[in-house]
Amino acid sequence: MASTADVSGLTELNGPPEQRSDDAHGYYTPAPEKLVDAKAPTGLIKDRWTTRKMENRLVNPANRRKLDVIIVGTGLAGGSAAATLGEAGYNVKSFCYQDSPRRAHSIAAQGGINAAKNYKEDGDSTYRLFYDTVKGGDYRSRESNVYRLAEVSANIIDQCVAQGVPFARDYAGLLDNRSFGGVQVSRTFYARGQTGQQLLIGAYQAMERQVAAGTVTQYTRHEMLEVIVVDGKARGIIARDLVTGEIETHLADVVVLASGGYGNVFYLSTNAMGSNVTASWRAHRKGAYMANPCYTQIHPTCIPVSGDHQSKLTLMSESLRNDGRIWVPKNKEDCTKDPRDIPEEDRDYYLERIYPSFGNLVPRDIASRQAKNMCDEGRGVGPMVGDFRRGVYLDFADAIARLGEDAVREKYDNLFDMYERITGENPYQVPMRIYPAVHYVMGGLWVDYDLQSNIPGLFVTGEANFSDHGANRLGASALMQGLADGYFVLPNTIRDYLADGPFEQIDESHPAVVEARTSVEERIDKFLSIGGSRSADSFHKELGNIMWEYCGMERSEDGLRKAIDMIRELKAEFWTNLKVLGTADSLNQSLEKAGRVIDFIELGELMCIDALNRRESCGGHFRAESQTEDGEALRHDEEFAYVAAWEFGGEGGLPVLHKEDLIYTAIEMKQRSYK
């Protein structure tokens, strides 16, 4: 805990940052003014959310059914928002690209969900959860938002339990919880290794109940391709029915994007194959700011790539690091040997060597980066992918000798089975191989305290927004944010906006609607008419390689400049050499992919520019030019304690950088150290 814990929220503990370096000069246009209006209430941090709920206007129940709300995405954030706004009586239209809302990628989250319930009487509190989250995010998240997140966390558990989410229980039938991600209290609620699935099904069922009640209409196999902005306000979307190919116009009083993260910009990631940035990127091109796009979380314990055919990466629970020892051979020539034939003295247990006090349990960003360093040195193991072997051993031999195979099986059975199914190797006999992979993005569309983007009437929730995780997301906090936004925050903030509604009637002949629709149709025609020789997938793979190499775990000024040039060339080639077969008036997965890939390419360029500008190492983002003498990440709070909110600069134009200072009043910034 910070000794200076000042919960008053009245004293500023840091001054405004002054950026001295400008590595990205020439790649962007600076905005003349700072972005100051995030609209958080002032005063005591613990009272801010209560204040805002009281300040916000109400909407009479009889008027709610006259108000139309569009929600794009049906994961934890979108599904829970649809359920809650439907219950409240608004007329909700919910969109997802999958065949059922239940398949949104929140379903794949494994570990758990944090809540400050203090059931273990181990000293947890709203403040402590808030503190851990801000510190874990390397002081690049927004204080007011995170405090609110911690505040509503306990309500989430109540809500989910009431819905029948089967959380783990103790023998008295009360909720069990565990410690997670290096936190010193037990605040993580879980449903074995499938917490995301159970929470999502709870939200999905709540939403389906509203579908039956007629307050929510669900549009499955629909993809949002454009936002309709009328007189500066978001008033609807253009969507494509993925089965018939029909381009549909959906008008509303307010639009909510809950469309998830964009980790698939790296091609290989732990995201679902369909997860994409299109909804956010189309909104960005319409004027919505994209904040901190370069913030990517890399997860250290994934199953490594096995070859060029690889389509996605699978995460192995981090709990494995409790018992597994991580090593690589000391000598390069041993890398192709059977690991069991490499004697103890020829093994380098590098985490234990470099970080004796934390060893194999160092935080995610550090474990990831050191694994990459070992492989870059040529000491990686497993199959050759490109020029390197990309894998390190996670060895359970000591644990099996110490605890017995049965005890290890008891603890990790399902994970070991999953590993064997994917790799064909038995981890009880041969050490597992792991490698870091892209897992989650902390960047996203900029929102104010009310989760509203800079386009009035366009709200953004969950992973699609940027506000709560800073530069590094802690374990078990993604599920918490998704449900906090959807069940508790958005329903309370959106009503203030809707209190001005219903807004002026518009119809499909409105010029803004026609323009949005025409632009979608023209893009689709363009994809189909290029008639080149490369599939969208091949462009995506190439982009992914560039992003991973130059904008992944370690970034440098030269590398990023090179990446920007490569991406610009790739973009030019896309528009001249893409090949999409089939037609627009039918189910056409290649066409869907083409639209998503070009949006990823444009986003990739912005991510590199954002990374180039941010000359500091922060969270999972290690900038080679900013390290301590012994090679650890070095943050520069006095220069970079700001949110980088990028405005689209027009086709071919430079993006405009708006800065929002991050001022802390309840927590003092400190460097992290794990040595």
Partner: protein, 247 residues
């Protein structure tokens, strides 16, 4: 590995479909089954033939999107989802037949993609607890016995893929239905609506055109999440109780 694939191609719901043969070469045994199909599609695209449409998303066995009949078995020869099936389960030179889920209540949309929205409508007919946001009591105010909570969890792992229906000679969705009835029925929160839930869900199941259950058990053996067959006994018991009570 070199393989011969016999794949169901169907332009859309209105058209009739047919099996077509494709040769694929250079398949690694480390590929997942879906990566093998990606490879085929990349080759088809190069040749100017439209790629094969199939449903997939998370590719880590949890979203329930993937749904292929492989050599007549739902998800193929292993008890897992298609995305977690790897080519080392097949041998060089083998012929593999790939079809969409077979069931009248799952009409084909295109190629290997079927429409499983009937499952959503079954959930809409009662597969939830009616609690509005904000009205939930403190979580620990209602204890749930540990063994019951564990059983609820074990059956709540259903991913809604529909393999049970595809494997059933009657095209019954009783395992899917039984899993949800048992999940909510084992928990105290599920009790108030227990009778209306089972009556509503079974009525919707029948209205969607799923067949009746005759205890063949193919569903449970095809289920990638190993939902046990006894959830169907639970379903029948709850339905009997509901009908007796006049639901």
């Amino acid at each position: 590995m070199n393989l011969t694939l016999k794949i169901w191609r169907q332009k859309d719901a209105q058209s009739s479909g047919a099996m077509q043969s494709y040769a694929v070469e250079g398949i690694s045994e480390d590929m997942s089954f879906l990566e093998m199909l990606d490879t085929l599609n990349e080759q088809l695209n190069e040749r100017g033939e439209e790629p094969v449409a199939f449903d997939h998303d998370c590719r880590e066995g949890i979203c329930g999107s993937c749904d292929l009949m492989i050599n007549g078995q739902a998800h193929g020869p292993e008890v897992t989802t298609t995305c977690q099936l790897h080519m080392r389960s097949f041998s060089d030179g083998q012929t593999i037949t790939i079809e969409p889920w077979r069931a009248g209540a799952f009409p084909v949309v295109k190629d290997l993609i079927v429409d499983r929205s009937a499952f959503d409508r079954i959930i809409q007919s009662g597969g939830y607890v009616s609690v509005n946001t904000g009205s939930a009591p403190e979580a620990n105010s209602v204890p749930a016995p540990r063994d019951k909570a564990m059983r609820a969890f074990n059956v709540a792992t259903c991913i809604g893929c529909g393999a049970c229906v595809a494997a059933c000679p009657n095209g019954s969705a009783s395992l899917f239905l039984g899993a949800k009835i048992t999940h909510l029925g084992e928990l105290p929160q599920g009790q108030p609506e227990r009778m209306s839930r089972v009556a509503g869900m079974v009525a919707q199941h029948d209205a969607e055109g799923f067949g009746g259950c005759t205890n063949i058990g193919e569903c449970a053996s095809a289920c990638p999440k190993e939902i046990p067959l006894d959830v169907i006994s639970q379903l029948n018991k709850d339905l009997r109780d509901a009908l007796r009570a006049g639901y």
